[in-house]
Amino acid sequence: MPDRDAAAALVDRIVAAAQIPGRARREALRRELRSHFEDAGASPESERDAMRRFGDEAAIADWLRRVHRRDRALLSLARIAASVAAAIAAALLIEAIVNLRVEPRAGMWRLAPPFAHTAMLSAAVAVALAAAREAGRRPFSAARIAAAASAYAIAAAAAQFLVAGGATAFVEAAALVALGSICSRLAPDRARAPLMVASFAAAVAALHALRDVHVAARGDVVSGAALAAVWASTLVILARMDAAFDDRFA
């Protein structure tokens, strides 16, 4: 049945190009359009005639895509919000583990004084990585890049409003993400982790020097390792969240 196959292929192409979020809704559209061709008749002639009368598949898919645009935008927002929240939570957990200290005399646990700053920086790195990932999604879109940059600027302003020096952390995080991106592109797989730790440690040392804060070299290396861990955990979370949303909703 070559014509029946041609009609089914036409329906499949329209459904794919319409980019409707949700497998169930895509299947419902497929079923509805297939039912249209079944109603048009079973003979090859009527099938061919129905395909001719159906119209321009690109225009139909484009119209369907516009109808469902708001749903796609909402789904993207939900995915980004969930990804960023999970990545920030992981970043804070990593910094809490790194900064956890035992008070031997009192027998108590406490967080080291730099925790507030390093936690803010790590959270900002997670947000910067998420923004960079959205901006770099293919196919490239100027609107998406502008939206990612604007959202990052708004997050920096909100951080500044909540915590003194919050915006500075976001500026530093942007520089660290740029540095990390260069390292991850340049280094071969096996050398990537040590290079990232070393680069981040050097960057943290430079930031300390700029602020005229004296920290032992070991401290800078630990901070660099923590930032590399935040980098890795954020990338894993973003990828997993993408896959989970694709599997569940897309």
């Binding site: 559209l29 079944e38 109603d39 225009a59 139909i60």
Partner: protein, 117 residues
């Protein structure tokens, strides 16, 4: 001799009329997509033939706008089809569009009648 003339309508003109066509047909009873196309063709004595695929985005758009609701049910032929019907909002919209179109049609008939004379 009866000559049938099928008018080639403007795309924009036709796009604007699809919504009215859907609302008018569904004001009478619930229908599925192909049934609407057949009915529109039958009532216009086959003069009104739109690109059939454009009906479905229009139906989805109107469903999302809350003018239509849809449900799958078995037809008399035994196959499941997606039937559309008007919501309360859709019924109000249908009545409003009908008034607008009646008014426009009356005015256009008068204008075109004068032009012919």
């Amino acid at each position: 001799m009866l000559t049938k003339v099928i008018v080639e309508y403007d795309r924009e003109f036709l796009t604007g009329t699809v919504g009215v066509l859907i609302l008018s047909l569904l004001a009478e009873r619930e229908m599925y997509g192909y049934e609407m196309l057949q009915e529109a063709e039958r009532r216009s004595a086959r003069a009104f033939q739109l690109k059939e695929g454009t009906l479905y985005p229009a139906l989805h758009q109107m469903e999302r706008a809350g003018l239509l609701k849809a449900r799958w049910r078995d037809s008399e032929a035994g196959r499941a089809r997606k039937y559309y019907s008007l919501t309360a909002r859709g019924r109000r919209q249908a009545a409003s569009k009908r008034r607008q179109w009646t008014s426009i049609a009356t005015a256009m008939r008068a204008i075109l009648g004068h032009a012919r004379a």
